[in-house]
């Protein structure tokens, strides 16, 4: 059997279990709503304002950089697996790859992209 067959079955079981866990309480827990209960929590005071406000740019930056570097990491996988056969050739290839990316990395560092305050 295709090894993914059992995996698929397992995933279905896991799905069922997760559904059970997350949607059971909705059926069993008793509901007793009141206006305050429905409010957002803010340390016991009235919510001071609607959730608002933008976050500083560095938060976005981290996510964007992650996307890019994640692709980089992804391309390491096939390389790593083939390393035994590629030998020095593969090494050189990858060093070039890494160096190119390192330039970008250094650029971010220099621009203070990893600075969190």
């Amino acid at each position: 059997m295709n090894p993914y067959g059992p995996v698929a079955i397992y995933l279905c079981v896991a799905l069922a279990a997760a559904l059970l866990f997350t949607f059971l309480p909705g059926l069993l827990g008793r509901k007793k709503p009141n206006p305050h209960k429905m409010e957002a929590y803010e340390c016991g005071v009235e919510p001071t304002s609607a959730v608002a406000g933008r976050f500083p740019i560095r938060f976005y930056l981290v996510a964007m950089l992650f996307v890019i570097f994640d692709v980089e990491a992804a391309s390491f996988y096939p390389w790593a697996v083939q390393m035994h056969s590629l030998r020095v050739f593969g090494l050189v290839e990858m060093v070039v790859f890494v160096i190119v990316l390192a330039i970008g990395y250094a650029f971010v560092w220099k621009k203070g992209g990893f600075q969190w305050r």
Partner: protein, 159 residues
């Protein structure tokens, strides 16, 4: 009293539910005054409320089962306490810890709410100023007893 099998089963289930609720009472992290220090002390090695399954102090009222009103409730704080109580998910219980929370104690004055039960329902009162931590453990025991033996909780709507 006659019980149909279904009813009997339900009653047993209810017992199990009550047992579970009573042995997993998670308090809300809310300290008000001196009593709060003793409330913290119940988690300390000497008393260790963890033994009763209640060491999981939750800061979010959504996840807490037990509000320990530990200390004096000032007029300014009263709406906050009320809101927090309201924001807790049911079923929930309240211990009024110490003289101040229960009755205003020595502070029979303009600033203190004379008994937190004037704003939220209280299940167990603990006298003392502050109650010793074992006194509070006793109160937690009472709460557990109450849950097991007919207070709010269980699966049969009884409130």
């Amino acid at each position: 009293m006659e019980m149909s099998p279904g009813h009997f089963l339900l009653a047993r289930l209810d017992d199990v539910a009550r047992w579970a609720q009573s042995t997993s009472v998670w308090p809300l992290t809310m300290g008000l005054a001196c009593c709060a220090i003793e409330m913290m002390t119940v988690t300390s090695p000497e008393y260790d409320i963890a033994r009763l399954g209640s060491e999981v102090f939750r800061s979010s009222p959504r996840q807490a089962d037990l509000m320990i009103v530990s200390g004096r409730v000032a007029q300014k704080m009263a709406p906050v306490v009320k809101r927090l109580y309201d924001q807790m998910a049911d079923p929930k219980w309240v211990i009024s810890m110490g003289a101040c929370a229960s009755s205003g104690g020595i502070f029979d004055n303009y600033a203190i709410v004379q008994g937190v039960d004037t704003i939220i329902p209280v299940d167990v009162y603990v006298p003392g100023c502050p109650p010793s931590p074992d006194g509070l453990l006793y109160a937690v025991n009472l709460i557990q007893q109450q849950i097991r033996e007919g207070g709010r909780g269980g699966i049969l709507a009884r409130s």
